[in-house]
């Protein structure tokens, strides 16, 4: 173990941490440009679909980061998203106000975050089971209260960002999106700054790594965990609202379809780091987009094999075959004051 650790440090000294992601990004951009020159419309479609698929995953992963950096395992992201997708849709259907619906979605997620925090901080229950409770309840409650005959009152339209939207390839893909998509990328940057460049972030990470030490230094562990889990929940709620207000525009039973779990994979893949998770989500989104596109073009690779790639990659990453992803140390364990 110590030998492995020391080689790891030498490794890091020789090669900066951003090296691998940077190389991959350059390769990805190069491939995008070449394929754009070969077939502009398909490239735009694939990249657009990549982003649409990635947005809820990014938001879910950010939720996971907020919770887990504070030491709370959240496998209820799936349920938080589903419930928020439902409440956002119903609000939209009743009032016709998209911003209000978005707010309701985020609030729903935050409330479920409060519930999870209560289960794990106050009741000191097993957090994995707490999350499972949220998931099962969300399927039941949304399915029970959803009426098939409700109608949608529209969804968020794309907002082109002035002249930026006219740049070939980049314009339509990046700068002509509906509001939640912009908000998501903004939130990635904000989360990155909050966690790694502010006092609040440092304290929250301390709570996730070593709550006893944090407590000794006067940080309120319980409060930090409550706040962080609720912020996370609100982000998962945004992800759910994205599905009904921006992505699909409709509510369907069980429509999150595992995105909450994939978001967890994205978070681990991104090593509990917002920008890393964003890149991971884009990778997942891309495999999904390409899978749909291949099916569309009738290419004879069984699309299921491409569909497996992100999941298989996640297993490889968490198993430590490619780099090591280390979770916050105090994760999943309730904190007991002495």
């Amino acid at each position: 173990m110590t030998a492995a650790q020391s080689t790891l440090t030498v490794h890091q000294l020789r090669r900066p941490r951003w090296m691998v992601p940077a190389i991959l990004t350059v390769v990805a951009i190069a491939i995008a440009i070449i394929s754009y020159l070969l077939n502009p419309s398909v490239t735009e479609a694939v990249l657009g679909a990549t982003i649409r698929f990635a947005v809820p995953l990014i938001l879910g992963a950010l939720c996971g980061i907020y919770c887990e950096r504070a030491g709370i395992v959240n496998i209820g992201i799936e349920g938080q998203m589903l419930m928020a997708a439902f409440t956002a849709y119903m609000t939209n259907s009743w009032t016709g106000s998209l911003p209000l619906a978005l707010l309701v979605g985020a609030l729903t997620g935050a409330l479920l975050g409060l519930f999870l925090a209560y289960i794990s901080v106050a009741l000191k229950l097993n957090q994995t089971i707490g999350g499972t409770v949220i998931n099962i309840l969300a399927v039941g409650i949304t399915g029970f209260f959803y009426q098939v005959n409700t109608v949608t009152k529209g969804k968020f339209a794309p907002i082109p960002l002035g002249p930026l939207a006219d740049i070939p390839l980049i314009g339509p893909v990046l700068f002509n999106n509906p509001p939640i998509t912009y908000l998501t990328f903004l939130l990635v940057i904000i989360t990155q700054i909050v966690f790694f460049h502010t006092r609040w972030g440092l304290r929250t990470r301390a709570v996730g790594e070593h709550p006893r030490a944090a407590d000794t230094l006067g940080i309120n562990v319980f409060k930090t965990r409550y706040v962080s889990t609720m912020i996370g929940g609100a982000l998962a709620g945004l992800g759910g609202a994205f599905l009904t207000l921006e992505g699909v525009g409709l509510f369907e039973r069980n429509m999150t379809n595992g995105r909450g779990f994939i978001a967890l994979a994205v978070m681990i893949f991104g090593k509990w780091n917002p920008i890393g998770s964003m890149l991971a989500a884009l990778l997942f989104g891309f495999t999904n987009a390409i899978q749909t596109q291949l099916q569309f073009m009738g290419i004879n690779v069984p699309h299921q094999f491409i569909g497996m790639i992100p999941y298989a990659l996640t297993i490889i990453v968490v198993s430590g075959f490619v780099g090591r992803s280390r979770p916050p140390a105090a994760e999943g364990t309730p904190y007991e004051k002495e």
Partner: protein, 366 residues
């Protein structure tokens, strides 16, 4: 074991102490379910009466309840066995799918065998598939420290992709006008029969639960599984091969889930069709926790959940209540039974030791 006072020696008291928290949790979830029904404008009494009638009202209803119960026993055991070793087998769903498709394949591809050979052969195929699939998260957990929850959630999705591929590709039913992605019907010789309204699969499930109980309570292997679950460090110092035990707990879990998928395919559905077994693996979590990871508790809680599922359609038809209320009640049950603190506070019960479920926390490589 705690020292026994005279009142605790009474068998009824012992039984009551074992089941009181799940029982009260069920009661509380039915009450909360009733409140939700009232909010949505339905009459909870009509709904629950219709639910009960739909579950046990006549031989046909009873048959359906038992059909719904059978796979739950298996997936509940699959989760419970892993719980005993301190592992959370959320991957029962994927293991079950692979078991279901392999037994479905053996069920239609092999022809001309007598049932006495064909059925066990298909069942064993399904069990092996499930066990191998369960071995993956077990090995990863034991030797690389990757948490079984995240790997087995991923394996669940991979299993969906594998089974989708097989049932739309090499193993697809190409007879006649079929356009749906599914396997052909299994041969008659592979069908698990019924005795009156009782599916033989249900009897097999009970038998397997007894076997699992025997393994856990009366064998060295079971003892070692339990002690790894209670304290893996202490077990390692006591000379147990903890890595091997963790792997084998997941293998047995996978085998049980695969068994359940096979019984479902051979006994109820009659073929493998994607989307037919969705959720059974996840219900296993509720079943295992309600049954406190004890094999007999698993049978009881599967019957309860099976009755809810079996009666749901009649309730929807008679009382005009969407059958999704079942999922709500199930979620509430899971909540109240795990949040036994809430139940205890509400009913002012004291904590009883030795009955808690131990699950490893976090993703950690601990």
């Amino acid at each position: 074991m705690e020292p026994k006072t005279p009142s605790q020696n009474n068998w009824f008291m012992i039984f009551w102490r074992a089941i009181r928290v799940p029982f009260l949790a069920i009661l509380m979830s039915l009450v909360v379910g009733a409140v939700i029904l009232i909010i949505s404008g339905a009459n909870p009494i009509t709904a629950y009466v219709a639910l009960f009638k739909g579950a046990f009202g006549n031989a046909n209803y009873l048959k359906r309840t038992l059909e719904k119960t059978t796979p739950l026993v298996f997936s509940g055991l699959a989760v419970a066995f892993a719980f005993k070793a301190g592992l959370f087998n959320i991957g029962a769903q994927g293991q079950l799918l692979l078991g279901a498709i392999v037994s479905g394949f053996l069920g239609f591809a092999i022809k001309g065998l007598p049932p006495i050979i064909h059925i066990p052969l298909a069942l064993i195929g399904g069990c092996v598939a499930g066990a191998l699939y369960g071995a993956i998260p077990g090995l990863l957990r034991a030797y690389s420290g990757a948490h079984e929850v995240i790997t087995s959630i991923m394996l669940n999705y991979i299993a969906i992709n594998i089974t989708d591929y097989l049932s739309d590709g090499p193993w697809k039913d190409v007879s006649g006008t079929n356009v749906i992605a599914r396997l052909p019907m299994i041969e008659n010789s592979a069908k698990i029969p019924y005795i009156g309204p009782v599916p033989v699969g249900f009897l097999i499930a009970i038998l397997i639960a007894v076997v699992v109980w025997y393994i856990l309570e009366k064998t060295n292997f079971g003892f070692e599984i339990n002690s790894v679950g209670l304290n893996s460090h202490a077990s390692r110092y006591a000379g147990m091969k903890t890595k091997l035990l963790i792997t084998s707990a997941m293998v047995v879990g996978g085998l049980l889930a695969g068994f359940g998928g096979s019984v479902e395919t051979l006994g109820v559905v009659g073929r493998f069709q994607p989307g037919f077994n969705v959720g059974i693996g996840f219900d296993g979590i509720t079943v295992a926790l309600l049954g406190r990871s004890s094999p007999f508790g698993v049978i009881l809680s599967s019957l309860l959940l099976g009755a809810l599922k079996g009666g749901a359609n009649v309730m929807q038809f008679d009382a005009k209540v969407p059958h999704e209320i079942i999922d709500v009640i199930q979620g509430l049950m899971l909540f109240f039974v795990t949040a036994d603190l809430v139940v205890r506070k509400f009913f002012r019960l004291k904590k009883d030791r030795g009955l808690e479920v131990h699950v490893a926390a976090g993703w950690g490589q601990k």
